[in-house]
Symmetry: C2
Subunit: 153 residues, 2 copies
């Protein structure tokens, strides 16, 4: 079963790797841009653009020059996607990967960047919950279950 699991791990689809980017990624270039696009939700255009601006390291190419993404690329992309989805500006993401390229000595800076983003994320969660309460109330009003004391705004 262990043998099977590790065998299957080698065959994980692009989608699976992206959705659950754990463990040591292998660096075999094997995913096409179309697969990565489908898995990540980013368009092929956006994936190329990320590479152009330096968010991704130059991706390996097939014999005919087409991009082949490795699991390691997918891991990075999955993390960057999370940062992006939660509102980090591309410029900050770029700063993070550039620090990472400089190696170990920048780990403090990177940690600080993530700490700051974590605070931003917490703030967003608080804002969203507060808004959820307002929405729940207004929807109740629209459903006619409560007095419509505030329905005009």
């Amino acid at each position: 079963m262990t043998a099977l699991a590790s065998f299957e791990a080698e065959l994980r689809t692009c989608w699976d790797v992206f959705r659950d980017p754990v463990g040591a990624p292998d660096r075999t270039p094997r995913h096409t841009i179309g697969e990565v696009s489908a898995a990540s939700g980013l368009t092929a255009h956006t994936l190329r653009w990320y590479e152009r601006i330096g968010l991704l390291d130059p991706v390996d190419r097939s014999a005919s020059g087409q991009r082949r993404y490795s699991d390691a690329d997918l891991h990075r992309l999955a993390f960057l996607g999370r940062l992006r989805l939660t509102g980090m500006p591309v410029a900050d993401m770029l700063r993070y990967v550039e620090l990472a390229r400089e190696g170990e000595r920048t780990s403090g800076d990177r940690r600080d960047l993530l700490l700051a983003h974590r605070e931003a994320v917490r703030q967003q969660i608080a804002d969203l919950h507060a808004t959820l309460a307002v929405l729940d109330h207004k929807i109740d009003v629209y459903n006619g279950r409560l007095a419509r004391c505030a329905a005009s705004h």
Copy 2:
């Protein structure tokens, strides 16, 4: 005490009204654009722009032509600000207020709009929590408390 409370309610500052927009708002135009800007976090430019595109009804003016916002304006603005803060596009906010202007018969549409946004908000909260978990893990790694199995991405 009731008399005092209602007396003070008349005197609520722009900031207070914006932060806690409850009860029947009075329509006396009394807040300057600068006050509203400070209370709402929106710039004066943005407030004028919101009015220009129809998100706010035409605001009352002083004798010399300057804007004077009423508590009712602040209530609407507070709600719109929440929608905006939680990612609703300006176009959708506009649709909402235009429906509201059409009166009672559009209340179903408005409710649907809010229902859809509530779903979007819930989705955002889920995404943020998932990212928080990833950030917590990575920050632990950077703090050296865990094996650095994923520090390269």
